[in-house]
Structure formats: C-alpha cells, structure tokens
Amino acid sequence: MSGYFKELFGGTKSLFVGLGITFKYMIKPVVTVQYPHETLVMPPRFRGHIELVGDEETGAPKCVVCGMCQKACPTNCITLTGEKPEGGKKKVLTGYILNFTTCSLCGLCVESCKFDAITFSRDYNLAGPRKDAYIFDLKKRLEEKSG
C-alpha cells in the first residue's frame, strides 16, 4: 500500500516537474535561424561542390589538365578536356564538367590536386527543378566570376 502512494505522489510530482521544464524553455528565446531571411556563413573548411581556381593575374584557370582529380573521383563525376595550343608547351583547359548529381562531396579531388587548381565552394543554397541544372560547367562559372 505504501508503494502505491509512493508511486502516486512520485509520479504526480514528476509530471509537474516536466511541466516546469517545458515552461522554462517556453520563456527562453528561440534558437532557430529564420532561414530564408537569415543565412549562416559556412566555415572555411566547408565542403561544397568544387570550383576552379583562377590565376590571380590573368584569371585563367590554374588547372594543367593532369587528370588526377578525374582519377581520384570515386563516382566519375568529373570530366575534363584540354589541348595543347599551337606553339605552347603546356596543356590548356578547354572544358571542366562536374556532374553534381552523382558527386558525393568527399573532397578527394581537391586533395589529389597538386596545383591548388580546384577548391570547395561555400554555396549550399542549391535547389533546382531539373537534373541538368546540376551538370556544372566549371570553366564557364570561372569565366563568369572573373569577367
């Protein structure tokens, strides 16, 4: 019988304690970020999709078309093409396509690059109605950014 009353009073008390806690949190300020109106800045190491890095002076891509990133990618989402211009020694990038639909954002491509020619974007507001919106032409993006 005493166990019954103990449970009754203990249980009732626990219920009121619970109410007290939710009340305490109710009068605390809200913790959410009102997303479309406020956005957070991603930390410097944030792994977004990749971007080409342009040369600081010329704005041309630093990429030398060695193809290491293509080889490192587990999902084959990078396609790059280059050609040797007439009279030039080095290959020049002609196209860098990232198929973001299969990218797993692992960052192995950036790690494999010895020329710091690719970097992570800090853009995370990615949404679109069609699949082809995520076949990024990174060379074009770089040209748009620099010029």
Partner: protein, 338 residues
C-alpha cells in the same frame, strides 16, 4: 433583449458555428505557436503578421482539396463519421452559459445533456475507423471505444459529486452559486475539490483524445489512427470536432470548478460582456494548459490508461464522493446549523 423563437434558434446556430469554426482555426494557430515556443522555435510567422493568416490559408487549402473516398470503404459511414464528431460537440454548446444571460437554452438538465452528446463522439471515431477499410484505422477505432470505458466512469463520479454539492444540473445555476469572489468557487468549496478538479481535467483530456491520451491517433504507432484515410475537409471536420470538444471540456471544467463567468474578485464587474470575458479567459487558460501538457509528455498506452483509471482515478473519485457526501450531511450536524 429577447428574441422570438425562430430567431433565437438562428442566432444560436450562426453564433455557435462561427464560434466553433473560428476557435478551431485559431486554436490550431495557438497550438502551433505554443508548441513552437516550448521547443525553442517561433511557429507560424510567414502568412500575415505573426502568421495570423495561416489558419485561413490552411482552411482554403483543405477546402480546395478533393475529398477522396478510397476503394473498399463503406461510403455512408465514411462520410457520416466526421459529422458525428462535430455535430454533438456543436450541440453541447446549447447549454453552456457564456455570460449571465448569454446562454442558448437554459435547460435544467444541461449537464446531463452535455454528457449524452459527448458519448456520441466516440461513435464517430468508431464508425470513421471502422468504415475506412484500413487496419490502422480499425485498431484505432477499437482503442477509442476501450478508452471510453476507462475515463467515463471517474469523470461521471466526479460530476455526481459536483451535483451533490450544488444540488442542480442547470449549468447557469451552478455558476450563480459560485458568485462573490474566488473563494466561493467550487474549486475551494472543500479541501477535496482541487483533487476532484484534477481528476475531471485528466478525464477531459482523455475524452478529447489529447496527449498523453491520444491513443486513437497515436501518430508514431497508427499513422493517424481513425482519420488515416481522410483527406481535405473530411479531415478538417474531424479536426474542428476535436477542438470543439476541447473547448467543451475546458468550459465544463470552468463552469463546474472555476466559477464560470463570475469574476475572480468582487470589485471586478462580471455583468454583460465582462462575464463573457471572464469565462473565455478561464477557458483559454485551461486550453493553454491542455496544449502545454500535450507538448510535454509522452503517450500512455491503453494499459497505462486503464491502470490509471481503475487503480487511481476511480478509487480516489469514489473517496471524494463519499467524503463530500459525509461533509454535506455531517458538517451541519457538528456545527449545529439547520
């Protein structure tokens, strides 16, 4: 101001339906706000200032949706069930005194009538679940019925206690007896009354299928219980019925224990619209408590509810009934009053 009979009925119907619809809409908004702040969020805020137009948007959305009648359901039961939840709730408002003179029908057996209508509510849930041709809905319907058995007994015992105390079943009369300040409320009539109030309140939660007793629509077990298959306004009417029942439950608690439309202090007026104000203020405070409870506790199981009912609520409510009866009869003998 007195109205002739047909006008009185019309005024009541329009008034009550508008009251229920408006409350259902804005209690959803309030619930979302309360839940939001309890959880450290804001709740609706995009549609209109403070999200105040959100219920309107939700209502338009629900009404514009097709009322799907899935294959294999019993079409008649399926369509009637939501009405069986809403209509009795609306009917119960007939005897609720909102103010000293603001009551649609001042019936002498008002309390009995409310409980008669309240028991139809379960019928709606049962038929809706049964007619849906969905296993989750059938389980939910069975739960709703067994739940009904669990909470109605202690609730009625408590109500009988109150009838003994007031010797009337007329709701307005009960309120009038509690006039003259907060200490005259039945909540303070004797030391047992706070416990009686607690029991009544717990049973009202179970009656309205609110957490922690929302066994019927336990969303993590039964998807949405009896209204799993309902879309558009079919669901909307269930929802309105649920909120109308909450208002009824809280109104009864206010009338029985917290002085109805009487003001808490004698120097504050409770005439005319002030009475309505005090009544609604108390009702909304209880509704807030209902929401607060919902967003605090996990759900009980059916066994938990039965244990609570048979091991705790029924013995205690019987004890209160007995002691109150003794007090009414014995106390005058001791003090020597007539």
């Amino acid at each position: 101001m007195t109205l002739t009979e047909p006008w009185r009925v019309l005024a009541f119907l329009v008034g009550i339906i508008a009251f229920v619809a408006l409350n259902a809409a804005y209690l959803v908004w309030l619930e979302r706000k309360v839940a939001g702040h309890i959880q450290g969020r804001i709740g609706p805020k995009e549609v209109g200032p403070f999200g105040l137009l959100q219920p309107l948007a939700d209502g338009i959305k629900l009404m514009s949706k097709q009322l799907l009648v899935p294959k294999g359901v019993d079409p008649l039961l399926f369509k009637v069930a939501p009405l069986l939840v809403l209509v009795p709730a609306v009917m119960s408002f007939v005897t609720i005194p909102f103010g000293e003179n603001l009551v649609a029908r001042n019936i002498d057996i008002g309390l009995l009538m409310i409980f008669a209508f309240a028991s139809v509510n379960v019928m709606g849930l049962l038929l809706g679940g049964w007619g849906s041709n969905n296993k989750y809905a059938v389980i939910s319907a069975a739960r709703a019925v067994s739940q009904n058995v669990a909470y109605e007994i202690p609730m009625l015992i408590t109500v009988v206690t109150m009838i003994m105390l007031t010797s009337t079943m007329n709701l307005n009369e009960m309120v009038i007896q509690q006039g003259g300040g907060i200490l005259n409320w039945h909540f303070f009539a004797n030391p047992l009354m706070p416990f009686a109030f607690l029991i009544f309140f717990v049973c009202a939660l179970a009656e309205t299928n609110r957490a922690p007793f929302d066994l019927g629509e336990a969303e993590s077990e039964l998807i949405a219980g009896f209204h799993t298959e309902y879309s558009g306004m079919g669901f909307g009417v269930f929802f309105m019925g649920e909120y109308a029942n909450i208002i009824i439950g809280c109104s009864l608690a206010v009338i029985l224990f917290l002085g109805g439309w009487q003001s808490p202090f004698e120097f504050l007026s409770d005439q005319g619209l002030w009475g309505v104000f005090w009544f609604l203020a108390k009702v909304y405070f209880l509704i807030f408590c209902v929401m607060w409870i919902r967003w605090t506790y996990p759900r009980t199981t059916l066994w938990g509810l039965l244990n609570l009912s048979w091991k705790i609520l029924i013995p205690i409510s019987l004890l209160i009934l007995l002691l109150t009866g003794a007090m009414i009869k014995v106390w005058p003998l001791i003090t020597g009053a007539s």
